[in-house]
Symmetry: C2
Subunit: 665 residues, 2 copies
């Protein structure tokens, strides 16, 4: 089977058949797929957000539990504000109205590039950190897997990437089971725990009692509370996801996006509130991860409420799944953000190309590649990257909210009725509160985590912006040359001078000569001598004799000017140099007349055929295009060992491509 | 600096400037470079041949030394026979008259392929084993280097490969110092030792006495002696080298080749005889390599004769160098053998292409790659490959001698004078003795080493022959199609139907249209819709309006038939499928008329530009050539962001390529 066929079959097996444009409608998702596809980052963070906040309070010992409520309350408030403002954003910008679009339309290009870079850095980190955290939790539950950490990380990465290459809807369906299992089991645990707490008057007895909190080593300070708040804020990353991918939803788009956002924020809020409440009432503190016997807060909580039965293990397994898969949010959003940026020419245009399965394959592959590199470099252990993490998210929140404030301000100015103005004022208020709250949180996070590594993010973002600008500069230059279309200039219509260049003369070059004589009366046949390092006098004499009989005679009979045979010495055994040299001379003599170089090539059907032919012609094609200048074009005359059928080249679509439409006129 | 410039500068730095054909004369070598270039395998084996024979005799204890003479004597005799017969071969076939040519011309294709495979397998093994033996000796002398064994092996491999890519003469000059140092120091040691032995009446006292030989564990058997002989025969590999590369020598070729062969065989004989003689008189036995305190026979011998002074260390260092560099023989011969085989179409033709520095670069790179793979797989420790080793060499010896016997037999039959017949008979006798002796040795080696791994070689050789036949079959099929030249058929000379295919319309496509109208009156402009997954109605309407004004109008004014605009739906976002489909339909309508597809392309000057453009056009070119059939040709119309100068494309030769010779007529 030819190589290309094998490749196509393999692709089809892994990614599914190629989808047609008109199938796009069926590929859009509803809230059912939207929650697993976009919500895993947010929902998964409920498992480490409260834990991170509690870890910061560890120096306070048992007393720390008294403060956890004061730390989580503002976080919950922030969540409500974010929910309300992203609802507005989605309604206002139903076409992928993510932070990038909002800041571009309202704050200008500079702000939008800042947002884009923050988002891009954040998403790459999110994939690496999410997967390594998930696999870290798995290997600490089953230490026998420890040596395979990196392989497990990369395996998960490939799994998530492939599923997203198949399509957002496929990923959403695939992860629906663990997502809803996680939600069902933990909401049940929280409900039972809350009921018991209320029934016992606030002091429930644990089925498996959590270990005693450590002794206090410090007194409470505002700085400690703020650091705990900054750590807890990681629970909120991923909330912006829906707004970036609104266009992925089925009609009615806004309603479905709102429903998904509501489900994610609602479940996240319930989980955060419930975990905080039960941690206080059951007296569950964070444990030192570096000590043996470590148990996560969720594990302690589940044990305390339902004991170590089957239900416990199902719940904990679902948490592990959720954590490992939390990278999916990035895989849904990152390509869409990149596509928007690429459409504005700040990223390479292939990022905007719709792939085989109607998703933005280049973005997915790039994200997988970069995150895979990060994982490989850090050996699958990315704890150190965690401090870098929340900055991008909160920077995005702030930019998005600020953009919306500007948006409403403009709306107020142009509003026609006082009621409309009143409504817009209310909207503005919501977004303004959001912007202020998230910017304060951002400031706290930056200060609290600066020395831990947050500075790296603050360095990575400007670097990314620089790259975006460089890409833009290239495209601007390119378009400046290519656009500006005028009437076709057809003053010079003389056919080109045609060169047939070849190391040997045979039926293949005969065909090239035939073709050359069809398109131009001026044909030069370029024969290279000394290509093998030595002169082959014998061969040349034979060629000259043949030429008169085999080429010139029939050409004259057909009434054509016979092709001229030119001998060129390949002193350095390369055809490229002498041919370029010859072209230069011909151009000088013929006042920059167009020159077409015909390269006859044997078509390779199997990979091993490439080993049996030299790459000389391909190198020559590249050199001619690269250095020949705008007056040189290259033509390739194929020779097939077996005449192919055109149908073989059509991809394996279910239905053949539609025929060409009737010519316009 | 553009990427290609950087690559060329780097190549120039590592390999030196590109050499012109006429410089070939200066690149030929004399015996001075010939001995280091081709002789290191043979000379180096003097250090392990006697040792291998002595190792086999270890079970006999001190008594083994009494037999070493009886083992080495036939080996020395064999060496004399080989020398005499290869002298004859060189004189008879002065154009690379190696075993391959000799067996091809006298014994037929089957025999020549057997010889070629044996040589090729032997040379690959020789490189891997030679380098790892040399580095092994180095690391046992300096155990601190042990952990870097593989890196050292690969480093040496790269060094030798690069030096040979620079040219045989460069390699010969580079290794001259260690080679002649080795010869000088060991011939001196042997001379001093022999003198002392003679002066002391056969019982010299050692400066540093060698350790006592181990106790005898076995009695002497013929089988033991034969195995010792088989082991000692490894000393003779590399003797055929000169005959394979006669063409590398300066005029008078035969004289210089004879001189080189004589020097190699003479020095090797002296070393073997001297080492054997002194091992007996000083009582030096082989030591167990796996035991600590191991010393090689040469090290014991040098110590015994001159003590552990500066001279000792210089001598031992030169042995190490020689061993590491013994792979050079393969790098000189392997590419030349492959070139001969490739010229007969049994190996890919690029093996016969003369490279940048007038050496056969493809063979060198292939040898380095294969040997590198072997080294990497075995971690640089290839002891296990040693038993595989001598078979290829002795099979080659035998084939070569047998071929010469046939040669002389024919000469005798056609000889005109009785004296000539007499001379040929003498020649035949020499080669016949050689053939019989080497075939007996081969038999002993195969039997003695069969279970140790020699069977792998006996398996590898037929596999190689199979590959050679498959390559030949492909070229026969190719040539059957391409040869058979007749008068040029010029019945149909209608210009082709030209398609301009592009995802967007701009100045670049304007140029393509201009070009299309120059070569044919029938031009179709193929416009793809839905390429980005959705319809862009707006864009299309604009295009249709522009078309009438910007294209059709000027075409009519210029008296040309206006190009027809065809819209094609790219339902699967790929241009290839719909374009192939369209071509199929057009061919049906136009009775297989020639179709030329014009692809306008932005030329990439820097590597990063490839990231900013899609590979769509290249994929399309490949698909059109692959599936379009013989009636479709592809043309590429370049667009340069900066107009290049042709001179930039000429390689960095010292002198510019010679101008095109005057056209023949």
């Amino acid at each position: 089977m030819p190589t290309s066929r094998i490749r196509i079959s393999l692709l089809r097996l892994i990614l599914g058949r190629r989808l047609a444009n008109e199938e796009y409608v069926e590929r859009r998702i509803s809230a059912f797929e939207g929650v697993p596809a976009m919500g895993l980052d947010g929902l998964g963070s409920s498992s480490y957000g409260p834990e991170a906040a509690l870890t910061m309070l560890m120096p306070l010992g048992a007393a720390g539990l008294a403060y956890i409520g004061w730390v989580m309350l503002p976080i919950l408030l922030l969540l409500v504000i974010l929910y309300a403002s992203y609802r507005q954003t989605i309604r206002t910008y139903p076409n992928n109205g993510g932070a990038y679009t909002v800041s571009k339309l309202n704050l200008g290009t500079g702000a939008s590039l800042l947002t884009a870079s923050a988002l891009m850095v954040d998403y790459v980190l999110n994939v690496a950190v999410g997967i390594s955290a998930g696999i870290g939790a798995l290997t600490s539950a089953a230490p026998v897997l420890q040596p395979y950490t990196l392989s497990l990380c990369l395996g998960t990465l490939v799994l998530v990437a492939v599923m997203n290459l198949r399509g957002t809807i496929d990923a959403g369906r695939a992860w629906a089971l663990p997502t809803y299992l996680f939600l069902a089991s933990f909401l049940t645990i929280l409900a039972i725990g809350t009921l018991r707490t209320l029934m016992s008057g606030g002091h429930p007895s644990a089925v498996v009692p959590p270990p005693r909190p450590p002794r206090a080593t410090e007194a409470v300070t505002l700085w400690l509370i703020l650091r705990s708040f900054a750590a807890g804020c990681t629970a909120m990353t991923g909330v912006e996801a829906v707004s970036n991918s609104v266009s992925a939803f089925r009609e009615p788009v806004i309603k479905r996006a709102h429903r998904t956002l509501g489900a994610i924020c609602g479940f996240l809020g319930l989980l955060l509130a419930g975990i905080t409440y039960l941690a206080r009432s059951y007296g569950i503190a964070a444990m030192d991860q570096t000590q043996s016997g470590y148990q996560s807060v969720l594990s302690q909580l589940a044990g305390a409420v339902v004991g170590h039965g089957v239900f416990y293990y199902v719940a904990i397994a679902s948490v592990l799944c959720i954590l490992c898969l939390s990278a999916n949010t990035s895989f849904v959003d990152f390509p869409r953000v990149c596509c928007l940026v690429a459409e504005d020419d700040f990223l390479p245009r292939p990022f905007a190309a719709v792939g085989r399965r109607l998703v933005l394959s280049v973005g997915i592959l790039y994200l997988a590649g970069t995150a895979g590199l990060l994982l490989a470099v850090f050996g699958g252990i990315t704890d150190r990257l965690i401090p870098l993490f929340a900055i991008g998210a909160f920077l995005t929140f702030t930019m998005s909210q600020a953009g919306m404030v500007w948006h409403w301000r403009r709306e107020i100015l142009t509003a026609k009725t006082p009621t409309a103005r009143q409504t817009y004022r209310a909207h503005l208020a919501i977004n303004a509160v959001g912007a202020i709250a998230t910017s304060i949180a951002l400031l706290i996070i930056v200060v609290a985590k600066f020395s831990e590594g947050a500075w790296i993010t603050l360095l990575a973002i400007p670097c990314t912006i620089l790259v975006l600008h460089m890409v833009k500069k290239y495209y601007v230059r390119l378009d400046a040359q290519l656009r500006e279309q005028k009437q076709l200039n057809l003053r010079g219509t003389a056919p080109p001078l045609v060169l047939v260049a070849t190391p040997a003369w045979n039926k293949l070059t005969d065909r090239a000569l035939q073709f050359a004589l069809r398109i131009s009366p001026d044909v030069l046949a370029v024969h290279f001598t000394e290509l093998k390092g030595s002169t082959a006098e014998e061969e040349e004499r034979a060629l000259r004799q043949c030429w008169a009989h085999d080429v010139e005679e029939p050409a004259r009979k057909a009434g054509l000017r016979p092709p001229q045979l030119v001998r060129v010495k390949a002193r350095f055994r390369s055809m490229t140099g002498p041919l370029l040299q010859l072209i230069g001379e011909l151009q000088e003599k013929n006042h920059n007349r167009l020159i077409a170089v015909l390269l006859p090539e044997v078509v390779k059907e199997y990979w091993w055929q490439h080993l049996l032919h030299s790459r000389r012609l391909r190198r020559m094609q590249a050199a001619l295009l690269r250095y020949g200048g705008s007056h040189v074009v290259v033509m390739i005359i194929p020779w097939h060992l077996e005449e192919p059928r055109i149908e073989e080249g059509l991809e394996e679509e279910e239905t053949p491509p539609a025929p060409a439409e009737a010519a316009d006129r």
